[in-house]
């Protein structure tokens, strides 16, 4: 008992002794999920984020200011996310990279009230693409609405250019994120004339035999659009294969698109033909990735193993880069280095033609469009690896725009 008390007292003293952030430092709040249901993503994405920040600092920071990314594990739960956000505020963070759809929902009001911009790439509230309604929320990558439109376009192209009368199966994780694409899918259904049936996979999404049987044997879908994440994409791949459904007729959204999903499904041989959407490039053949490798080589350390999971790692790098770009723009406007969240927001909205050496499509963010174009690529498992199938494209912008406008 006494030893515990003494230890606690020592800890409290040490806490006080730990100095707060240094002066010429710009803080980015980086949330991550390292122990929750999406840890397979977080444990690869967040190292990418941190590595890019390290690279920037090694090159002298942004206009001489070092960037500090404060990473906190939010376990994909809301209370830790809220608590870490308050911590970022205390440290004077100018931007926050939020992790997780329920988390961005919970923090939307706070971010807006406190005037700190938060990003939610490839997840979160699709309606936040409208910068006038959500001035401080930045999807900065294809939202679920854009992804849905792109998936339908890809399916249409694969089916020979016409979807009239064809049967589409939409298999999704039964939670708000999974149901988000419904408005867009319904509009496209009217537009293109296809028949669609939805198949909900209740969390935790590890068992979907009946749904898959239905898709393959009773409904006999012509194409499957899958919006799953966490463990379920790999389970879906395995189950579809088990009932004999051809995987080349399946396209997944961005969070079912990683090497990890293929490996979990049993390897590239099992997943042959499966396609998925990406909002950042796959593989290590990009200048910024090479620079990070160089950085590690100079330090005499091996390159991080997370790089092999390039889908998630690259997304982390892209996320960090776009935050840095926003800060760079903010500093251009305020060279004295004392930028606030509002300045960073303005910095985001000045981002134009951002490609990060080809890792991502040319992103342009404006005060009205916080999504940046919603461009995706389709990659497919072919011959033992992920192969690029299409170039960057954006599908049905009018439909997506209409849904955004009508959103509350």
């Amino acid at each position: 008992m006494r030893a515990t008390l003494a230890l606690l007292a020592a800890a409290a003293l040490a806490l006080g002794a730990v100095a707060p952030a240094a002066a010429a430092e710009i803080v980015i709040g980086a949330q991550c999920d390292r122990t929750g249901p999406t840890q397979t993503v977080g444990t690869n994405l967040c190292p990418g984020f941190n590595d890019y920040i390290k690279l920037v600092n090694m090159k002298g920071g942004v206009n001489g200011n070092t960037i500090r990314a404060d990473e906190v594990d939010n376990e994909y739960k809301v209370p830790p996310a809220v608590e870490s956000y308050e911590r970022y505020k205390k440290e004077g963070a100018v931007t926050v990279s939020v992790y997780g759809t329920p988390q961005i929902y919970a923090l939307t009001q706070k971010l807006t009230e406190d005037r700190i911009p938060g990003t939610s790439p490839g997840f979160g509230k699709a309606a936040a693409a409208d910068g006038t309604k959500y001035p401080y929320i930045f999807p900065i990558a294809a939202t679920y609405w854009s992804q849905a439109a792109a998936a339908v376009k890809y399916a249409k192209d694969q089916m020979g250019g016409s979807m009239k009368g064809k049967k589409i199966a939409y298999i999704f994780y039964d939670n708000p994120a999974g149901r988000e694409p419904f408005p867009v899918l319904e509009e496209l259904q009217k537009l293109e004339g296809f028949e669609m049936r939805t198949f909900a996979v209740p969390p935790p999404g590890v068992e979907m035999g009946a749904q898959v049987l239905d898709i393959a044997q009773r409904y006999r879908a012509d194409f499957v659009i899958s919006h799953l994440f966490g463990r379920s994409p790999s389970v879906a791949i395995k189950e579809l294969k088990r009932v004999g459904y051809p995987l080349k007729k399946v396209v997944g959204f961005v969070w079912g698109a990683a090497e990890a999903d293929v490996e979990a499904a049993g390897g590239y041989g099992v997943a042959e033909g499966y396609s998925a959407l990406q909002f950042a490039g796959v593989g290590e053949d990009y200048p910024v990735i090479k620079e990070i490798k160089e950085m590690y080589k100079k330090e005499g350390k091996p390159e991080p193993k997370e790089m092999k999971e390039s889908v998630y790692y690259n997304r982390g790098v892209f996320l960090a880069a776009i935050h840095v770009e926003a800060i760079r723009n903010a500093l251009k406007a305020k060279p004295d280095g004392k930028i606030t969240g509002a300045d960073a927001k303005a910095g985001f909205e000045k981002i134009k033609n951002f490609t990060l050496g080809g890792l991502v499509p040319p992103i342009e963010i404006t005060p009205t469009d916080h999504e940046g174009g919603g461009l995706v690529q389709v990659w497919q498992v072919s011959g033992g690896k992920w192969v690029k199938r299409t170039d960057w494209f954006r599908a049905y912008p009018e439909v997506v725009g209409k849904v955004i406008k009508e959103a509350k």
Binding site: A11, A14, L15, V18, C32, R34, T35, T43, C46, P47, N50, E71, V72, D73, E75, K77, V78, P79, P80, V82, E83, E86, R87, K89, K90, P102, Y105, A106, T108, Q109, K110, E113, K125, D174, N175, P176, R179, E180, F182, P183, P202, P304, K408
Partner: protein, 355 residues
């Protein structure tokens, strides 16, 4: 010497039945109240106040669960679902009817109480772990209903944004204002439970927990009181959900899932079943433990691990330490923090003597 119980003469029934008959208890409570209402909000920064706000909401929830599990002996894993019922009711009232918080909060609680009573119906026949899993069924069904019935959930996103609460024209939005707002409800909740347990209803609950067959024999209508326990406990849960919604500004059922229910169970077991102080202590402990662990590890972890490995190890280590602490706690003191406090108090009761 400090904690004197003898030499105090009471001259009315009122004085005898007071919540805090001993002067030392009254002084202590007054001091705590002064600390909570005056000192803390002036001294602490926004960040620490935000943690306290989270703790306050947890306290209300833990109190409610303790009514059901600690005082009435009915194990329930559905607490999270009742919170989301309260949250969505209040959110819908606030957005559709522009109801102010002092209307939407009680109605949210009542709605959760009604749902809780329904979920508690199996308790007539089923006991123990069987009942616990039946309440888990209630949790899953409620989650599914909110997820799928868009009339309740406000759309496929199942999130409803609520405006900040207004009191006499003042908007409550900063951490400091939220602190007072939540503190009022915490005090109401605590006083409510303490008084409840001194009434006939409270005694019936305890009788049911201790020996429900005997309770039925002496004339307590156990079905009615069991349902009442579920209802009151769910009322507290509903209020917790509403408070949480107002604190975050959004109602979202994904915050109130099975892990939340289990977290609250952990709170009351670690704090001590069947005690108000236990609920409060348990809520503080479980809410602040991850934060405390993270700070400790960040301060000391640099001595042992490289920064890259640390980022991966800290969160997992946190889970491990959390589980370890629970187990160690249970081995050392299965009746929780409450019992620890009582031991300390008994020590001071006879201090400086040994017994």
């Amino acid at each position: 010497m400090i904690h004197r119980e003898s030499g105090l003469l009471k001259t009315s029934y009122q004085a005898d039945m007071a919540l805090y008959p001993l002067p030392i208890a009254r002084w202590a409570v007054a001091a705590i109240a002064a600390l909570a209402f005056l000192v803390v909000p002036l001294l602490l920064s926004d960040y620490y106040l935000s943690i306290l706000n989270l703790v306050s909401v947890a306290i209300v929830g833990a109190l409610g669960l303790n009514i059901l599990v600690g005082y009435t002996g009915q194990v329930s894993i559905g607490h999270g679902a009742f919170m989301s019922v309260g949250a969505y009711t209040a959110a819908n009232l606030a957005t559709r009817l522009d109801a102010p918080f002092w209307i939407s909060l009680p109605i949210g609680g009542l709605m959760a109480a009604a749902v809780g009573a329904v979920v508690g119906i199996p308790s007539l026949r089923i006991k123990g772990l069987y009942l616990a899993i039946a309440t888990l069924a209630g949790q899953l069904i409620i989650e599914w209903t909110i997820n799928h019935v868009t009339w309740i959930s406000g759309g496929v996103q199942a999130s409803i944004e609520v405006p900040r609460p207004r009191l006499f024209g003042m908007v409550i939005s900063t951490q400091r204002q939220m602190y007072f707002f939540l503190l009022v409800f915490v005090v109401l909740a605590i006083v409510g439970v303490m008084n409840l347990m001194r009434t006939r209803v409270g005694r019936a609950f305890i009788a049911i927990r201790d020996q429900d067959i005997a309770a039925e024999i002496i004339g307590i209508n156990i079905f009615r009181y069991k349902l009442l326990a579920f209802a009151i406990s769910s009322f507290y849960a509903g209020v917790t959900g509403v408070l949480y919604t107002y604190y975050l500004g959004i109602a979202n059922y994904e915050q109130f899932q099975i892990t939340t229910s289990i977290d609250y169970l952990a709170m009351i077991i670690i704090g001590g079943l069947g005690s108000v102080l236990g609920s409060v202590l348990g809520a503080i402990f479980v809410t602040m433990l991850p934060i405390f662990l993270r700070i400790t590890m960040e301060t000391f972890g640099g001595l042992f691990f490289s920064s890259g490995a640390m980022l991966n190890i800290i969160p997992n280590l946190r889970l491990i330490v959390f589980g370890l602490l629970i187990i160690v706690f249970l081995v050392v003191e299965p009746e929780g923090l409450n019992r620890l406090w009582r031991n300390i108090r008994s020590y001071f009761r006879v201090w400086p003597f040994a017994y």
